[in-house]
């Protein structure tokens, strides 16, 4: 049951083979058993969770259930959920109880989904290993010595360890796709503006986007049907008609369902820096796509290498502004001893933020400071346009772009934590889609043997054109019809 798809769970719930309370309890039992070692959840509240499950059962009995009614989900701790501790992985917000719901939380509540808890994450979503969390690192369920990726590392580990049926994540530079890759899940970052950012704690507002992290493309489509849609409370939410993201999953039903699909392979995604063992798995996945009828086209995204420098100007600049709200006055951490108002700000922020968050605030402050704005911020915005134009050109030749989601499998905890530049390079294949605002996803494509360790998951990335999520989900789903990587589960007793 813990490995069932959302569709199977919905069918079991609605035919009353199982109640939501029973299903929820089985996940809570697994959480009690495994979360102390994995640390995927920051906040759990059994009473709240079970009350939602009871309400879901009543709704099912009354005959007005939706597809997700009664299904236990995990929410990244970046989303405000009324009455829940909402920390964003930071000491700054360790005591913050959200007084309202994020739009995403409201959507899941209205669908009748059950909230199992808030998942661990890199502090303020700044990190690629979940090691910057104030609440401690998260173990990769495939190997406890390795990181789950980040920043949505808790959500990734919770789905991989089957401590929830599916989860939410957010992706500013790869924070859904890289942990999905490292933990063997299917994760989707939608086009910018598709999912409301209302109540989602801001990191870099022009890049932040929420999306699902689940076992399969089919599950992601069901999650998207609830999460996506216009919300007037987010000024960047796009006014588009409601979509059924499942609509293209199963068509057409032929031996070569992807006949005519043009897949672009950017040479920059297979250049130096990509582990040979990961490249092998990606090549094998592309071969599967050839058998499904797809045509492979060599393309180039020449400015890919610049995406990291550009991102590390723009994201910190936006973060330094967004995080200026944490001043110790109305909520969040306040220093216990201070002399005057400035001293209170200085000490509260010095104590409340961790090292990586401080580094990014300082970089952002520097690149926006007088005399440097043109050389850094404006320059980065200009190159951002070049990166977006690369994609516009590429999509004239192909329907989707494929490549690795991350340059390697999961690395060991502690390996990169003292070298920010090495950590930043984890996102070399994911950042450019955030800068362009395009949708991207990662799906499990196999395993690669680490040099001195276990076989670890490898993620295949699919990048689509703007608002092409339904097609990307179809492309992923067809692969998952002929492979079973997405159904493999880690052995938690051995990890």
């Amino acid at each position: 049951m813990i490995n069932s798809s959302l569709k199977q769970l919905a069918s079991m719930l609605q035919s009353k083979k199982i109640s939501s309370v029973e299903l929820t309890q089985s996940f809570l039992t697994r959480i009690t058993q495994y979360n102390p070692s994995i640390n995927a959840y920051i906040a759990l509240d059994e009473a709240k969770t079970l009350a939602q499950a009871k309400a879901a059962d009543a709704r099912i009995a009354a005959g007005n259930a939706t597809a997700l009614t009664g299904i236990p989900l995990a929410q990244k701790d970046i989303f405000c959920a009324q009455g829940w501790q909402t920390t964003c992985g930071s000491k700054m917000l360790a005591n913050f109880i959200a007084p309202y719901d994020a739009h995403v939380i409201t959507q899941f509540d209205q669908a009748g989904a059950v909230n199992l808890g808030k998942t661990n994450m890199d502090e303020f979503a700044m990190g690629s290993s979940n090691e910057t969390s104030y609440f401690g690192g998260v173990k990769n369920p495939w190997s406890f010595d390795h990181v789950p990726g980040g920043s949505s590392g808790g959500s990734a580990a919770a789905v991989a360890a089957r401590l929830c049926a599916a989860a939410t994540g957010t992706d500013t530079g790869g924070s859904i796709r890289q942990p999905a890759s490292l933990c063997g899940l299917t994760g989707l970052k939608p086009s910018y503006g598709v999912v409301s950012r209302y109540g989602m704690i801001a990191f870099a507002s022009s890049l932040d986007q929420a999306g699902p992290m689940a076992k399969s493309a089919e599950d992601c489509a069901m999650m998207m049907n609830v999460m996506a849609g216009f919300d007037e409370r987010d000024s960047t939410s796009l006014q588009r008609d409601k979509e059924d993201y499942s609509r293209e999953l199963n068509k057409p039903q032929t031996d070569q369902p992807l006949l005519g699909l043009k897949i672009g392979l950017p040479k920059e995604f297979f250049a130096e820096g990509l582990d040979a063992s990961v490249a092998q798995v990606i090549t094998a996945a592309i071969d599967v796509y050839k058998k499904l009828g797809a045509q492979i086209i060599d393309i180039s995204l020449p400015n890919t290498g610049l995406s990291i420098p550009v991102y590390y100007v723009l994201a910190p600049a936006e973060a330094s502004s967004n995080l200026s709200r944490y001043d110790g006055v109305r909520y969040g951490h306040r220093a216990s001893e201070y002399s005057d108002l400035n001293d209170m700000y200085n000490k509260s922020r010095a104590e409340g933020f961790g090292a990586e968050v401080k580094r990014r605030i300082l970089i952002g402050t520097y690149v926006l400071s007088a005399g440097y704005y043109d050389a850094y911020y404006l320059k980065a915005q200009q190159i951002r346009r070049l990166i977006a134009q690369d994609f516009i050109e590429a999509f004239k030749q192909c329907d989707v772009i494929m490549g690795p989601a991350a340059p390697s499998t999961a690395f060991k905890a502690g390996e990169k934590v003292d070298d920010p530049v090495a950590m930043y390079l984890q996102d070399i294949y994911t950042i450019s889609t955030n800068l362009a605002g395009l949708p991207g996803m990662s799906l499990p494509a196999g395993f690669a043997q680490a040099k001195d360790g276990p076989a670890l998951p490898v993620g295949l990335q699919i990048i689509g054109n703007y608002f092409d999520e339904a097609r990307m989900l179809n492309v992923a789903h067809q692969y998952q019809q002929v492979t079973d990587w997405h159904q493999q589960m880690p052995d938690l007793k051995r990890a």
Binding site: E232, R334, Y345, V367, Q381, R385, L386
Partner: protein
């Protein structure tokens, strides 16, 4: 261009984050590495390219001029920090937030 310890202290002051001498030294080496990465941008000729400030070309929506928010001061003040400087009380009084004296 190379950053100095004095630059780090100035930036930290602008960002209102207290740094000790030893933290400033450690931060200098990390930030120098990151700025080295960022310097790669300078090799690109961007003459005439319109800066891209956002992922979507959006125009600010206007809403009707009606009240949409209700007063939730009491709920919000439940998250007030502890006052500090010897007091364990929340930093609120009479619906206001307490901060050190600003005006002499």
């Amino acid at each position: 261009m190379a950053l100095s310890i004095e630059d780090i202290k100035k930036i930290a002051h602008l960002a209102r984050i207290e740094v000790s001498e030893s933290e400033a030294t450690a931060t200098l080496s990390k930030l120098t590495g990151i700025l080295g990465l960022i310097e790669q941008m300078q090799a690109v000729d961007t003459t005439g390219i319109v800066p891209m400030s956002h992922a979507q070309e959006l125009h600010q929506r206007l809403r009707d001029d009606v009240v949409t928010k209700t007063n939730q001061r009491e709920a919000f003040q439940k998250n007030a920090p502890v006052l500090g400087n010897g007091s364990t009380q929340p930093a609120v009084a009479g619906g206001l937030y307490l901060v050190p004296k600003v005006i002499e």
